[in-house]
């Protein structure tokens, strides 16, 4: 099975947002692979391996792709170190692209690579837009399964049963391959990904995506990374969506500590008029 995993590098979310000249100031920012995309790489690895010994089962290939500046190669290497097989780096900047352009580039790569599955995070934790997976599926005319909390690969590998986190519960949707799947937080739970090979009793750690091992990091240096630009995929740096400015929300007025429950209830009733 060939799996394409688009990943985005994002500023480390534990850093405080700073504004300079009306836009986010990213000088000196430290970068990470978007958490959800890291989970997507983990999902792809779980689909293609026997979890008991982490050995790849069939041929299978995991390709990671990113649209980002030259430094974003570091995040691609992290994914290769986790176990992805090769990487595609489309060198560009956030100012040059928007979700439509990203979708166009991915569609062009998909036409060339013909993957069975595209798995990506449901949203990037900087933009929080939650668009690319669904837009890509619409453009390709492929089925989509978003907000995946569990995936079960059918025995014939021709479809997936995806448990999706929706308002009010978990919806189980079957999609044939090829399909676009976007993953949610709980996809890395111990038994969330079933591929018919990993023993039913096997529990992954549930702590998140695997950390690259030293062996993985060394191997990643030798794995192929193809570098190109937007024009190589028929795209232009002409985003239709422009960020005009960014502001910080007004701070909440400071709150107060209350000494006991009766005082809390009185203040909620009389001061806040919330009860």
């Amino acid at each position: 099975m060939k799996i394409l995993v688009p990943v985005k590098r994002v500023p480390d979310p534990t850093q405080k947002a700073k504004i300079k000249d009306g836009h986010i100031d990213l000088t000196g920012a430290s970068w990470i692979v978007n958490t959800f995309d890291e989970y997507a790489v983990e999902t792809a690895l779980r689909l293609l391996e026997n979890g008991a010994d982490n050995k790849r089962v069939d041929g299978g290939e995991i390709i990671v792709v990113t649209l980002g500046p030259e430094d974003a190669a570091k995040e691609l290497r992290t994914c290769l170190a986790m176990g992805a097989d090769r990487a595609i780096h489309v060198v560009t900047t956030d100012a040059e692209i928007d979700s439509r352009i990203v979708v166009g580039v991915l569609a062009s790569i998909i036409a060339a690579e013909k993957p069975d599955l595209v798995i990506m995070g449901k949203q990037a934790v900087d933009g929080d837009a939650n668009q690319v997976g669904q837009m890509l599926a619409g453009k390709l005319g492929w089925p989509q399964a978003t907000f995946a909390a569990s995936i079960e690969l059918a025995a014939d590998k021709q479809s997936l049963l995806v448990g999706r986190e929706v308002d009010g519960g978990v919806e189980y949707k079957r999609v044939p391959v090829p399909a676009v799947v976007t993953v949610d937080l709980r996809i890395v739970a111990p038994r969330a990904v079933k591929n018919g090979v990993t023993p039913e009793t096997h529990n992954y750690s549930g702590e998140g995506a695997r950390l690259p091992s030293l062996k993985g990091i060394m191997a990643a240096k030798k794995k192929p990374m193809a570098t190109g630009k937007l024009a190589d995929h028929g795209a232009e740096a002409k985003p239709a969506i422009r960020e005009l400015s960014v502001t910080l929300p007004p701070p909440r007025p400071p709150g107060q500590l209350v000494p006991d429950v009766p005082t809390l209830v009185k203040k909620l009733a009389d001061e806040a008029k919330a009860l």
Binding site: A17, R100, N130, Q134, R186, L248, V258, V265, A274
Partner: protein, 322 residues
């Protein structure tokens, strides 16, 4: 300039509360686009809900087809796109619910439209404000495509009121419905009499410090006393203490009730992203250094095991005295 097509979810012959926020946004957009709001109801029961919908907009379009029996992005997106074109819509919108988020970017692809997700404000016909970085900043974006797709954030727009007039109702055919092999199998839902998290005026939310799912029962008692919805932090849902759809946060539900109780919740940025729009926030936690106290209007440093039963007693006293 054109019309605004508002895809609205409905149930049992009425619009869902979440759709009423979409209509407030749609009306604002329609003014700026010099057009009308057109409500789209798709799927089983659409015709039955049309009369109720017609009290909210000058025009309602219903689409029913056996192929639309269960919501699927693959079958619903082409319907929204084709009705949008027929109705001359320059804005196509649905509230950012699980369905809205799954569906609308696919619609945007079919219309080759730019999209603004999870919007908190419309500033001009092509300019929208939306939260980024887990709500730690707000971005003003301008979209340059002829048609724009928008999902407004439910907590940022008041529920629209009826217009006092009856709009015109028409039906449209679904056309060729092709699920592309996708199929709905089942929904594992929690049956509950409590209000939806997104609609509730009061939310009682528990975190990792509750320790077990069984312990949430006392929070549920408080919630039922207040007519509140139940929420939880990611830690509590990940640990399987409570259902996943109770999660409030950047990647869970975004809520902005009048009153939010954060019990045994530390207050990580990602959780705050989901509830800091609440009017009044109460934090109850036995650790005074937890970040939740930075955002709370009222903080009580106490163990939930003692504090919540006492809170229930005191609120009962208050209600009895009124």
């Amino acid at each position: 300039m054109g019309n605004v097509l508002a895809f609205c979810e409905f149930q049992s012959g009425a619009l869902r509360t979440s759709a009423l926020a979409n209509l407030t946004f749609a009306r604002q957009a329609a003014k700026l686009h010099g057009g009308d709001v057109v409500i789209l109801l798709a799927g089983p029961g659409a015709a039955a809900a049309a009369a109720a919908a017609a009290r909210f907009a000058p025009k309602v379009v219903t689409v029913e087809d056996p192929g639309l029996e269960h919501y699927l992005a693959e079958t619903y997106a082409p319907v929204v796109a084709s009705v949008a074109k027929d109705q001359g819509a320059t804005v196509v919108t649905a509230t950012a619910t699980a369905i809205g988020k799954d569906l609308m970017p696919r619609v945007a692809a079919l219309l080759d439209a730019g999209m603004a997700s999870d919007v908190s404000k419309i500033e001009a016909a092509d300019t929208f404000v939306r939260p980024i970085l887990a709500g730690n900043a707000y971005s003003t974006v301008q979209i340059g495509t002829p048609t724009i797709v928008v999902t407004p954030r439910q907590s940022e727009f008041e529920a629209a009121a009826e217009l006092g007039t009856e709009g015109a109702v028409t039906s449209a055919p679904a056309g060729a419905v092709n699920a592309l092999g996708a199929a709905f199998e089942r929904l594992d839902a929690q049956k509950s009499d409590r209000p939806d998290l997104g609609d509730a005026k009061v939310v009682v939310s528990g975190g990792r410090g509750m320790k077990t799912g069984e312990n949430f029962k006392v929070l549920e008692e408080l919630a039922d006393l207040l007519g509140a919805a139940m929420g939880a932090s990611r830690a509590a849902t990940d640990a399987g203490m409570v259902p996943a759809d109770w999660q409030v946060g950047q990647t869970g539900k975004i809520v902005a009730p009048n009153l939010y109780f954060a019990v045994a919740i530390s207050g990580a940025i990602q959780h705050l992203a989901g509830m800091k729009g609440s009017k009044t926030i109460v934090a109850i936690n036995k650790n005074k250094d937890e970040p939740i106290f930075q955002v709370a209007d009222y903080g009580l440093v106490a163990d939930w095991e003692k504090a919540i039963p006492e809170l229930i007693t005191e609120i009962r006293k208050l209600k009895a005295s009124r």
